[in-house]
Symmetry: C2
Subunit: 463 residues, 2 copies
C-alpha cells in the first residue's frame, strides 16, 4: 500500500507540506470540495483522495511530485475528468493532481502550423484559439468543453476525424514533462522534426498518467476547411458500408469522417433525442460521411457515390443546419441510449476486414451471458473502432465486458481504441498483449517511476 490513510500524522504532514508548495487554497481536503474530483462523470468510478492539489504551474507540479515520491504517496493526474475507464479519479487515498490551472496558450505559429498549450487548456479553447487565427485542430470530441490537452495526451484521444488527421498522437509535436521524482523534461521549443534520442512525447501519449505528468504540449494545427458536405447513406449491411468507405477513402482526399450506426440506435434517437429519419427506407446499416475542403466538396462526393449500386437511400446536406441534423443522428446515440438505462460502454476496435463479423457476432456473444441484454453499436469505420453499449434488464457485471472484449481479441482486435485501460480493463490487458510485451511495458514503468507513485492501479494491477 503506497497510500497513507488521511487521518495519520504523516498524511497531515504531507498535506501541510503541499500547502506550503501551492498555497492553502489550492489543497482541497474538505470532502465537499474534493467530491467533484473523486467520481468520474459516468458515476461508475469513485474513490477517496488524500487531497486534491491544484498547482499553478509546471514548477509547482514538479514540487508536488517530488514530495509525494519521497513520501511514497500515489498521485492521480486529473484534467477535465471526462475519462471513461477510472484512470483520472482516486482509488484509495492518493493525491489528485489537478492540472486545470495550467491554462496558458501561446500564439499560433503560422509557418510551423503549431501552438503551445498548458495541460489544463480545454479542447474547445484550443479549437477557438486556432480558428481565430484561421487554423483548425485535428482532433474533435463530444467532450470538447471539458477535455483538456493533458488528458487527451494521456489517453491518446481519438474522436471523429481520426481518418483524416490521426489521433492525438499525431498532433503532439512536443511536451514538457514532470517526472515521478520531480525531474524535468523540456521538449517544447524544438522544431517539428527532432530525432535526437527517444521520442518521449510519443511514449507518454496514451500512457494514462503512469510514466510522467504532461505540463505543456506543442500541438500541430491543420488548415481550416470552410466548405463541407455531409451524407447519410443507407446500405444493406455492415460489409457494404466498410467496402464503400474503402472506395471513398481512395477517391476523396476531402473525406474527414465515416461513421457507422444502425436502425435500433436511429429508433432511440428519434424517440428520445428529437432525431429525424434521413429518409423513409429502413437500412441494414447507416453510414454518415463528411467531406471538408476549401471549395465545396459536394460534387466530388456526389460523383464518388453516383456509381455505387448497393446504396438503399441517401440524404445529403450542405447547409449548416441540415448538416447538424444528419450529425445529430449519430452524435445523439449516447444521450438516447442513456435514456434507456445505464449502459456498459466498451470502445473496442478490430481490423476493418472483421468489422462486419464483429457486428454480427457481438449480439449473440452478449446474449450468451445475459440473454435479455440489448446491444447498441456505433463507431468509426475507417478506424475499425466501434462503441459497444450494453443495456441490461438490470445491473450488469463484468461478464458482459468479458464477452465483448474477448470477441474483439478473437477477431484480431484490441480492448481499447480510445478510452484507454484505466482501472476498468486491467484484467484483460494480458489477453491482448503478450507476456514479453507486458513485461516490457512493466520494465519501462519501473524505469521512469521506480516507486510506483504515478497513477497506481492504472494499466498494471496494484502490488
Amino acid at each position: 500500500m503506497l497510500s497513507q490513510p488521511a487521518e495519520s500524522p504523516s498524511a497531515r504532514g504531507v498535506i501541510d507540506a503541499l500547502r506550503r508548495l501551492v498555497g492553502e487554497s489550492h489543497v482541497l481536503v474538505d470532502p465537499a470540495e474534493r467530491a467533484g474530483h473523486e467520481i468520474d462523470w459516468t458515476g461508475r468510478f469513485q474513490g477517496r483522495a488524500l487531497a486534491v492539489v491544484r498547482p499553478a504551474d509546471a514548477g509547482e507540479v514538479r514540487a508536488v511530485l517530488r514530495l509525494c515520491n519521497e513520501a511514497g504517496i500515489g498521485v492521480v493526474p486529473q484534467g477535465g475528468n471526462t475519462g471513461l475507464v477510472g484512470g483520472g479519479v482516486p482509488r484509495d487515498g492518493e493525491v489528485v493532481l489537478s492540472l486545470l490551472r495550467l491554462r496558458d496558450i501561446g500564439p499560433i505559429d503560422p509557418v510551423a502550423a503549431e501552438v503551445t498549450a498548458g495541460a489544463g487548456v480545454t479542447l474547445g479553447d484550443v479549437q477557438r484559439h486556432a480558428a481565430a487565427a484561421g487554423w483548425a485542430f485535428g482532433v474533435d470530441l463530444a467532450s470538447r468543453s471539458a477535455a483538456t490537452v493533458g488528458g487527451m495526451i494521456a489517453t491518446n484521444a481519438g474522436g471523429l476525424n481520426v481518418l483524416r488527421h490521426g489521433p492525438m498522437a499525431a498532433q503532439v509535436l512536443g511536451v514538457e514533462l514532470a517526472l515521478a521524482d520531480g525531474g524535468h523534461i523540456e521538449r517544447i521549443a524544438a522544431p517539428h522534426k527532432d530525432t535526437a534520442g527517444y521520442d518521449l512525447a510519443a511514449l507518454v501519449t496514451g500512457s494514462e498518467g503512469t510514466l510522467a505528468v504532461v505540463t505543456r504540449a506543442r500541438l500541430r494545427l491543420v488548415p481550416r476547411m470552410t466548405a463541407r458536405a455531409v451524407a447519410v447513406i443507407g446500405l444493406p449491411d455492415t460489409a457494404a458500408a466498410v467496402s464503400l468507405v474503402g472506395r471513398l477513402q481512395a477517391r476523396l482526399p476531402s473525406l474527414v469522417a465515416a461513421e457507422l450506426f444502425f436502425e435500433p440506435g436511429v429508433e432511440l434517437v428519434v424517440r428520445h433525442a428529437a432525431g429525424r429519419r434521413p429518409f423513409e427506407a429502413i437500412a441494414g446499416a447507416y453510414l454518415l460521411v463528411e467531406c471538408a475542403d476549401l471549395a465545396s466538396p459536394l460534387d466530388d462526393l456526389a460523383a464518388a457515390l453516383s456509381d455505387e449500386p448497393s446504396i438503399v437511400d441517401i440524404a445529403v446536406a450542405t447547409g449548416a443546419s441540415d448538416r447538424l441534423g444528419l450529425w445529430h443522428l449519430r452524435e445523439a446515440h449516447p444521450e438516447a441510449i442513456a435514456r434507456e438505462g445505464v449502459p456498459h460502454k466498451l470502445d473496442i476496435a478490430v481490423p476493418t476486414g472483421r468489422l462486419a463479423d464483429f457486428v454480427a457476432m457481438v449480439g449473440p456473444a452478449v446474449a450468451a451471458v445475459v440473454p435479455a441484454a440489448r446491444v447498441h453499436v456505433y463507431g468509426h469505420v475507417a478506424d475499425g473502432n466501434l462503441h459497444v453499449n450494453v443495456l441490461g434488464p438490470g445491473p450488469l457485471d463484468d461478464a458482459v465486458d468479458d464477452a465483448v472484449l474477448r470477441l474483439a481479441i478473437e477477431l484480431g482486435g484490441t480492448i481499447s481504441a480510445e478510452h484507454g485501460i484505466g482501472v476498468a480493463k486491467v484484467a484483460w490487458l494480458s489477453l491482448v498483449r503478450g507476456a514479453d510485451d507486458t513485461a516490457a511495458m512493466a520494465a519501462i514503468k519501473r524505469a521512469l517511476d521506480p516507486r510506483g507513485i504515478l497513477n497506481p492501479g492504472v494499466l498494471f494491477p496494484v502490488g
Copy 2:
C-alpha cells in the same frame, strides 16, 4: 567491452552457433563478404564485424538476438545501410544483423489504408506496391531504392513530404519487435487505434536500433495524387521565404513540399549537375513549392502567389519533365556539392521563426573555426530542417560540427532532424537534452536491453 575478438575460441563458438541458427551461407565471416556491411556509403564510418548474419525471418532474428545476448556480444541491426551517422555499421567486433531477407509485403487493405511489410522491404518497393493498388506512401527520400522499412523506422526518416504527411513516425501503425533477449512483441494485427498500453511502436521509431529490432511493420497509406504543380520562387531572403510558406500552408491544403536553397548551391548544380536556372534574376533565396491533388492545383497555387509583393521572379511547371527540371535544382545539391569535395553533412533543425537567423549566422560560425570553409545550406522550410554541408580547404575535424550544432541549439533547435544521433553526435546529445531527459532515456535503454547488446555506442557512449 562486450565484443569478443573474432579469433577467440568463444567467438568461434558463437559463429558456429549462428550458422546452426540461420544456415552456413547466411553467416558471412570472410572479410570480402563482410566488407560492404562494414562501411557506410559516405565512407566516414567503418568498423570490423565478428560476422554478418542474415536471418530469413523474424523467428531467426529472435534466435540470433537470444544467442548474442547470452554471449554478451553486441548486435548492430542493418537495413539498406544508407544511414549518415554511423548507426548501421559495426564499431568493433559486433554481429551485424542484416534484415534484408525480411522482404515479405502484404496486400493493400483499402479500407484501413494500410499495408504490412517486412523490415527489409525497400521504400521503393513500398511505393510501387502502393501505387499499383492506387495508393501512395507518405514518406519519400532520395535513397528510396535502398532505404528499408526497418531502417526508416529506426531513424524516424523524414524527407520531402513531411509538411503534408509527417515523418516515418506518422506512417507506422504497428510493429513486430524482436527484443534484446530474443523476446517477441507482436503489434501488427491490431487496428489503427489501439490504446491498450504504451505505444511501443512509437517508442522504437527513431530509437536507432538501441531498444529492439523491428522485424515487420504495418504502414499507413495515403491517397495517390495525380495532378501536380511545382514552382520555384525567387525571394529577397530567407525571412521572406519562411513567411511565404506560412501563408501558403494556411491557404493550400494541397501543398506537399516547400524546399529552400540558395544561389551558391544553384551555381554548383548548374556547373556540375546539368542544372538550368529557373529564371534570369539572381535571388537572395529560392523556394521550391509543390502542390498535389486529384484535380490540377495550378489555379490554387497561382492564386495564392498572385498577391505576394516580395516575389523577385517565379518559374511554374505542370508537365512532368518541367517539374523534374525544377526539382533537379534542389535534389542535385548533394551530388553537385560532392563534386567539390567531401563535405561534413549536418541535419539540424530550428524553430521556423529562427530559420533566417540560422542561415545568416551559420557561415560566420563556421568561419570562426575554419576561415576558408564553404557552407552550403538547403532544406525543408516548414520543418525548420536545414542540411548544412561544409566543404573545407582540406580535411575537416569535429570543430566544424561543434560550431554548427551549437548554433542550432543556441537558436532553440536540435542537432538532428532526420539522420539521428548514431555514433557521430553522441558527444553533443547532452547539449540538446537535459540531464533528467538523458537519464530517463538511459533508464528506458536499461529496461529493454539490460546487457547493452543492441547497437552499443549509438546514442549513449560505450561503457
